[in-house]
Amino acid sequence: MIMSKRSVIPFGPQHPVLPEPIHLDLVLEDEKIIEAIPSIGYVHRRLEKLIDKRDFKDYLYVIERLCGICSFMHGMGYCEAVERVFDTEIPDRAKYLRMIWCEMSRIHSHLLWLGLLADAFGFDALFMQCWRMREKVLDMFEASTGGRVIFSVNTIGGVRKDMSKDMLKGFVNEFNSMEKEIRRLTDVFLHDYSVETRLRGLGILTKEDALRFGAVGPMMRASSIAQDTRKTGYLAYNDIDFDIITSDECDGYARCFVRINEIFQSINIIRQAVEKIPDGQISVPIKGNPDGEAFVRLEQPRGEAIYYVKGNGTKFLDRVRVRTPTFTNLTSLINILPGSELADVGLQILTIDPCVSCTER
């Protein structure tokens, strides 16, 4: 019998399927991976340390740039934490507005991911179509906040911009028509023969492993753990009726399935929110400097994120800390890679929906 040959193949940081730099040393036995050793730090900036040089109001603009995909949620998480230190309740209208923007972020993030996934398995037309749909969400963002990627629409104590009735109604109409188109697209992901063969059985993460490695977000829900931080009822999620999407197949296909159905849930949430949004103010003034500490959990497109702030009564905070979903999901990734083939690595990495820039900060 011929002995199988061992080799180490570097993967990344610059690689066509990776939108962001991460490096893996893959130990292979012929084509099979037996170990994956990550090395990170290509996007490390030390954003948290910048709190020494920016006061707590300015820092909002820094923390938004933690990651360009969830920039709204990062800004919001930080604001919520500081608001908690101040012990202020933001107006109900602001809560609803934040919720609508959050769900829009989730839709655009999941569409972005679907596009990248299609690109990774070589279905270019599908990639283009997903991103075409995503542009519509970005147009709505631009109409309501003024930005496509970085919005700066949060402020400590509420939000800075209101949406008119007509605008909200227009958004719902737009989403209604988008829903049909997205359904057509996602049917390809779920029912196309070639897509299914690429995704089924890819990177299996059992329920026990998901718990052991602390998977979060769609990664965890695809391993049949029904947990969603939105159900803790921050913002106005308690008034909204939505389901936690889970799947018990635990593979790449399941993760795709969960994210696709979350898009429709998000559209549903926006519809309900527009119906229920109360009139009133959009922000309350904040006086003084933060003193004390607080932490906030919220559900990002990639899973649960935690924000911690500690103030000392001056305008400079002592500490800001963020734990991002990709950081926890990386452990799962390292553990699902062994056993798969080299050609599947790109796809495997994508199924966790990595966001390197917020992980490394």
């Binding site: 939108p19 490390h44 900036r45 910048l50 966001c355």
Partner: protein, 148 residues
């Protein structure tokens, strides 16, 4: 721009960015902005690329990677710094791990400002880069095929 003289192949590398500009670079390739109509193709191989788009500042870890990619590209080559971070460090300028903009490591030909840089301005930057590429090519011919 009257007409594109060349179909430039671009390569994109993400330095220490917030990936806001990255997704805008990718958005340029997709149906709304569609740079492929100018003959622009995104490639993953530095040896194939004429134009290098870099987003984000330079940190100690990615410095060598950027240098390596740049040195692997064939002459003539043009570097476009996309986003204010890539131009001079931007919001992250004061972070201890950020050296500054891309020009602290490799020569930059076109600066595209904005945080995040809008797809329109990125396309504009690429169009400018094509002119510079052409110029460099002419100079090379004059010198008998040598870059310097």
């Amino acid at each position: 721009m009257s007409k594109m003289k060349k179909s430039p192949w671009i390569m994109h590398y993400d330095g220490a960015s917030c990936n806001g500009c990255d997704i805008e670079v990718l958005a340029c390739l997709t149906p709304l902005y569609d740079v492929e109509r100018f003959g622009v193709i995104n490639t993953g191989n530095p040896k194939h690329a004429d134009i290098l788009l870099i987003t984000g500042g330079i940190n100690t870890q990615c410095e060598s990677v950027v240098k390596q990619i740049y040195s692997q590209m064939a002459e003539p080559k043009v570097v476009v710094a996309v986003g204010i971070c890539a131009c001079n460090g931007g919001v992250f300028k004061d972070c201890y791990n950020i050296k500054g903009g891309v020009d602290t490591t490799i020569p930059v030909d076109v600066y595209v400002p904005g945080c995040a840089a809008r797809p329109e301005s990125i396309i504009d930057g690429v169009v400018k880069a094509v002119d510079i590429l052409e110029e460099k090519y002419e100079n090379m011919k004059k010198k008998g095929g040598k870059a310097h």
